[in-house]
Symmetry: C2
Subunit: 175 residues, 2 copies
């Protein structure tokens, strides 16, 4: 994967772009795209050269991808360097990312909302309205969490299957 085809470039660039829109560093996303397309694990050096970024930048980015659990280091016989490879199961990949973003963003938000509701001073003027709004918002986040927990309970393949099923029974909604 020293040389990229036009198609690979397009995919990698787009993925990088998408990353930035979702609060993911462009280089991190690009590296992930590159590894995802690569049939074999790549050493950091190659990644840096292919994407024209500093070796150190690759190091940091890889670390982040490892944190998410969607990239890991593997060893190649006769080579001292670490080689990095991406998880290839797309569903599992997104599951991992979502799980962690939930933990880092949804959960803290629920926490804040709870604290806010708990700390509301009943003497303050206009508390009633504030409480209403905070409760509505809190309810939403609790519901989202419930939904997430339920999906998590299903095995990986099941979600896919469920989805395909739903597609077929478009308007026969008897649940």
């Amino acid at each position: 994967m020293a040389e990229l085809t036009a198609i690979q470039k397009q995919y990698i660039l787009h993925w990088g772009e998408m990353g930035t829109r979702w609060g993911i560093n462009r280089t991190v996303a690009q590296i992930h795209a590159l590894l995802y397309l690569s049939p074999h694990a790549l050493p950091a050096e190659d990644i840096a050269k292919t994407l024209s970024v500093a070796r150190s930048n690759v190091s940091t980015s890889i670390r982040e991808l490892e944190t998410w659990g969607i990239v890991r280091a593997v060893h190649v016989l006769g080579d001292r360097r670490e080689h990095y490879e991406s998880m290839k199961d797309v569903w599992e990949m997104f599951r991992l990312v979502i799980e962690q973003r939930k933990r880092r963003e949804i959960d803290p938000t629920r926490e804040v909302l709870r604290r806010c509701l708990a700390d509301l001073d009943p003497h303050e003027s206009g508390v009633e309205y504030t409480r209403e709004r905070l409760e509505a918002m809190a309810g939403f986040f609790e519901a989202v969490t419930e939904l997430y927990d339920q999906m998590k309970r299903l095995p990986t393949g099941a979600v896919r299957k469920l989805l395909r099923m739903g597609t077929r029974t478009k308007r026969a909604k008897a649940s």
Copy 2:
């Protein structure tokens, strides 16, 4: 809503923080939080003062919120200024945001993936692997789109009800 209570401040700050993590401008998110908590529509001037940002900044941010359809201008008798109010239905709000982010991010990605797959040169070496990966990714995005379309078809309240149903199944608790 000239003066913010400690609770309101906490909520607004947290919301701003969350915004940045999802690629939403901090000020935009804060303004939304403020309007969401406000029992009545607020003029831009007040928003600027309350959040300590430039009047012009409020103008731009409000515009973005209006684009999303979660904030709108209303008029108050005897006041020439525009007053802005946020939508209060949390579910509908998120529905709107998700709908538009899908359009701006998911759809273009599907498009790119399709183009990539279509443009793959069968003579190039290693196309097979690239095609496999791109197809897996494309499949995922198509499925997500399906899921989205199905949810969209349900009336607003139904998702909520569906969710509450699932919750009850889990731990037999009446709401």
